[in-house]
């Protein structure tokens, strides 16, 4: 077991390392360079002075060397300075990370709960009208553009009905629990609805397969009430592949969170990365993307471990 965890940790670290290099290289290809803001604020700067500044900041060095310096600093916890926020990158990242994790976790739990209810209901009578209706809803969830769903929710619940605030994390001057909750309702609903579609299909497929298994027939034959057969005997076994797939979908959940935050102006990682790229804030964009990758990798690792833990047939 420990060796398996160790190997998976090393693998994840390797993916993160490769990604850090790829993203570092890509960020350098974005328009502008770290000097242009500095240069733009000083009229009459000469090309020689720019060249000297380049040398001072090490921008004239080859990519590999610059990457190596960045990596060494990053490993010691120095992710550089955010030029659009004028504070160290970590000072901006930490609160944003918290906002995003909150949004993702609440939406994830809501989506899992909803998809289990819908998926199990659909699996009870495959081909029935309820199954068809749930299938339609699930397909809608997979097919809807998340940002458009957000836009429509704003249109209906904020613009037309005035029920909920359209943007932000809290109202200035309030910020109490109820206020924060009201600001979270639409983002969470949007992300959860978009995630539920795929999840429901997994739960349904897994439940149908499990309900056909021999041990379910035995459980029924022994006179167990149908609710117990479905919710205890079948669900436990159906859950194993489903939970894995759900945890593996953290990457797309993050993509959804990025959009949801941008649409509802939530101060999270997604909006941070998006704004950082728009304002050429290289350090912030780089670190933000790496943290996004790290979260996804950790979720995948957790999925693997959960799989091994839930299924006693797998010996690590």
């Amino acid at each position: 077991m420990n060796r398996f965890i160790l190997r998976r940790l090393l693998q994840s670290a390797l993916v993160l390392l490769v990604m850090s290099f790829v993203i570092y290289g890509l960020i350098g290809l974005m328009p502008g360079d770290p000097l242009d803001v500095m240069v733009a604020s000083v009229p009459g700067v000469t090309p020689e002075q720019i060249a000297r500044l380049r040398a001072i900041y090490g921008l004239d060095q080859p990519l590999m060397l610059r990457y190596f310096h960045w990596l060494m600093a990053a490993l010691q916890g120095d992710l550089g300075y955010s030029r659009s926020h004028s504070v160290p990158v970590l000072a901006v990242l930490a609160p944003a990370l918290w906002t995003t994790c909150k949004l993702m976790l609440i939406s994830f739990v809501a989506a899992v709960a909803l998809s289990f209810v819908l998926g199990i209901t659909a699996a009870l009578k495959p081909g029935g009208w309820l199954d068809g209706a749930i299938g339609l809803v699930a397909f809608a969830g997979i097919s809807v553009p998340v940002f458009w769903l957000a836009l429509m929710m704003i249109l209906v619940f904020a613009v037309e009905l005035h029920w909920l605030p359209a943007s932000g994390g809290f109202t200035v001057g309030d910020g109490g629990f109820v206020d924060q909750f009201r600001h979270l309702v639409m983002p969470v609903t949007t992300l959860a609805l978009a995630t539920t579609g795929g999840f429901t299909r997994f739960v349904r497929a897994s439940m149908i397969e499990t309900l056909r298994a021999d041990h379910i027939r035995t459980a029924r034959a022994k006179g167990n009430p149908p609710s117990r057969v479905v919710l205890v005997h079948a669900l436990r076994n159906a859950m194993i592949p489903v939970l894995t797939v759900m945890a593996l979908s953290f990457g797309s959940l993050f993509s959804g969170a990025l959009l949801t935050e941008t649409m509802f102006a939530q101060p999270g990682m997604g909006k941070l990365i998006y704004d950082a790229i728009l304002s050429n804030d290289f350090n912030l964009a780089l670190s933000g993307l790496l943290f996004a990758t790290l979260i996804t990798l950790l979720a995948n690792l957790a999925a693997d471990l959960a799989y091994a833990w839930l299924d006693p047939r797998i010996k690590l």
Partner: protein
């Protein structure tokens, strides 16, 4: 049904029995007619969908402009048609390109196996683990002049179009690769392939004549589902400003300004998104129908 009828005829029969699949096929055909209708419409009415008229901003629907005008005074209906052509074309091209990458990787890994397989699958797993949207945004933000394209090309509409096709293809090939690898490994050791090998066929011959045709059906289903995903990616990227750039319309970038306009002109935000939603939904149902049609077990006993 006669036993002599070809395999594709039987599959077509099965697809016709799949109500949702057939409904989406009809819907897709109608949508295709809709987006192509701009050519005759432009010729008849003489309205240019890219021509702005600042005196006609937010004009309500009229006989000349059935869906009214947008924030720059352009005909909304015609722009929806042209934008649809772009969105659907991106969807098809990026799927084909990504499919080719995925098939190449999958066949290479599944057919030759060994270290190549281990390496390719590590790369694939690494890609699957990534949050795709942030990566796509970075790729979309790359300054083309920094990788050797002329400034003229980098700022043209064509560059915006091909860039989005290429970057989506670059990140969305992993599902196909895994599927192709698994299917290839399943049939790699079949007798007919051994027989071909014994008869002196080279690896490329075997791949082209025996492997690819035999794994075609799951690939077609997976590619269909990919089209839906790609159209969603295109709409998101264009919406955020990293994809198809105005004045070329796409369903995604038509929603660009819709967010600010949602209070003044809510319908401008409704139309393009609803069309994306419809197309992706139809494509997904069609994929479901094709899966049903390609699966011999779904044959109804007669």
């Amino acid at each position: 049904m006669s036993a002599a009828s070809g395999i594709w005829a039987r599959r077509w029969q099965r697809l016709r029995g799949h109500r949702a699949g057939m409904a989406s096929l009809v819907l897709l055909a109608l949508l295709l007619l809709f987006v192509l209708a701009d050519v005759p419409l432009e010729a008849i009415t003489g309205i240019d969908p890219n021509e702005a008229d600042l005196f006609a901003r937010f004009d309500p629907p009229s006989w000349a402009h059935p869906l009214g005008m947008d924030e720059a005074g352009r005909d909304v209906l015609l722009r929806l048609m042209v934008g649809g052509q772009i969105s659907l074309l991106v969807g098809l091209l990026a799927t084909l390109l990504g499919g080719m990458i995925g098939i190449a990787v999958g066949v290479a890994a599944g057919f030759w196996g060994g270290r190549l397989d281990a390496l390719l699958m590590r790369v694939t797993d690494g890609m699957i683990a990534l949050p795709l949207l942030p990566l796509l945004i970075v790729l979309g933000a790359v300054d083309l002049t920094k990788i050797g394209f002329s400034s003229e090309f980098a700022h043209s509409g064509a560059a915006g179009f091909w860039r989005i096709v290429v970057i989506i293809a670059l990140v969305d090939w992993t599902a196909i690769a895994r599927l192709v690898r698994a299917s290839t490994m399943q049939i790699r050791e079949r007798d007919y392939i051994r027989a071909a090998r014994a008869a002196g066929a080279g690896s490329w011959d075997i791949i082209a004549t025996h492997i690819l045709p035999n794994i075609a059906t799951p690939i077609i289903v997976a590619l269909t589902l990919t089209v839906g995903r790609v159209i969603l990616f295109e709409s998101v990227l264009s919406f955020l400003g990293f994809g198809v750039v105005p004045p070329t319309p796409s369903w995604g970038n038509m929603l660009n300004n819709a967010q600010e306009l949602v209070t003044t002109a809510p319908l401008l935000a409704v139309y393009p998104g609803a069309l994306i939603f419809l197309v992706v939904m139809a494509v997904n149902f069609l994929g479901d129908g094709l899966q049903h049609a390609f699966d011999p077990r779904s044959e109804q006993p007669e």
